[in-house]
């Protein structure tokens, strides 16, 4: 697989993915607080033997509109980060690394198809939306590539 970008773009890619993770956490802060509150209060009530099912509190630390925007920005950062990582060179780029890239790409494509098809068969409808399938494939590529590079063909 042809790589077009210099090595330092790899670090920028990793930074982008971290930004995406942080933005994604912020975008879902309402759900997180909701889950944390209901979980902790249920545990406390169960301990005291006074369990009463509560209505959801409905946290609104950020608005739904902002949450949606942040999700898209996070997804964009994630795509950009993974693509930068994918298309930037290694410190020493050679034919072996190129082969690892091809292998990782083929395997990530295959696994994505298998997982997507399995979800479709099991649930009867697609559980992953288009962009999330692409993101999953990019994520898989990075994981498989690093597994090959650092574990399967590890330098002793």
């Amino acid at each position: 697989m042809k790589t077009y970008l210099p090595y330092y773009f790899r670090r920028i890619g990793i930074a982008f993915v971290f930004v995406a993770i942080i933005l994604s956490c912020i975008a879902n802060v309402n759900d997180f607080l909701e889950g944390f509150h209901s979980g902790s209060s249920r545990a406390l009530q169960q301990r005291n033997g006074t369990y009463v099912k509560e209505e959801p509190v409905g946290y609104h630390v950020i608005s739904a509109e902002l949450g949606k925007t942040l999700t898209w920005v996070s997804l964009s950062f994630s795509f950009a980060g993974f693509l930068l990582y994918m298309f930037s060179k290694e410190e020493v780029e050679d034919e072996f690394i190129e082969r690892l890239r091809y292998m990782s790409l083929a395997k990530s494509l295959l696994i994505t198809w298998v997982v997507t098809s399995a979800l479709l068969i099991i649930h009867g409808e697609l559980q992953l939306e288009g962009f999330y399938i692409l993101q999953f494939q990019l994520f898989l590529y990075v994981v498989i590539y690093n597994y090959y590079k650092k574990w399967k063909f590890m330098v002793a």
Partner: protein, 69 residues
């Protein structure tokens, strides 16, 4: 395909890192070739043979199983 890369390196007293630097590849590539996990291209094999001042056949040798593929 088996190879005598490790033996040739020992004869010349060079490390994997030295060899990698000489033929412009990563140390990982040399390790993978030595371990038989990767079969190099003709160009890379020629470079390796050139560094060890020998022929490709002296470094790389086909095995019985290679004919069955």
């Amino acid at each position: 395909m088996k190879n005598t890369l490790k033996v040739e390196r020992a004869k010349k007293n060079i490390t994997q890192a030295d060899l990698a630097k000489l033929i412009h590849v990563s140390r990982q590539t040399i390790h993978a070739i030595e371990a038989g996990k990767y079969v190099p291209s003709t160009v890379l094999a020629l470079k390796i043979a050139h560094i060890f001042e020998t022929s490709i056949q002296d470094v790389f040798e086909l095995e019985e199983s290679d004919w069955k593929k």
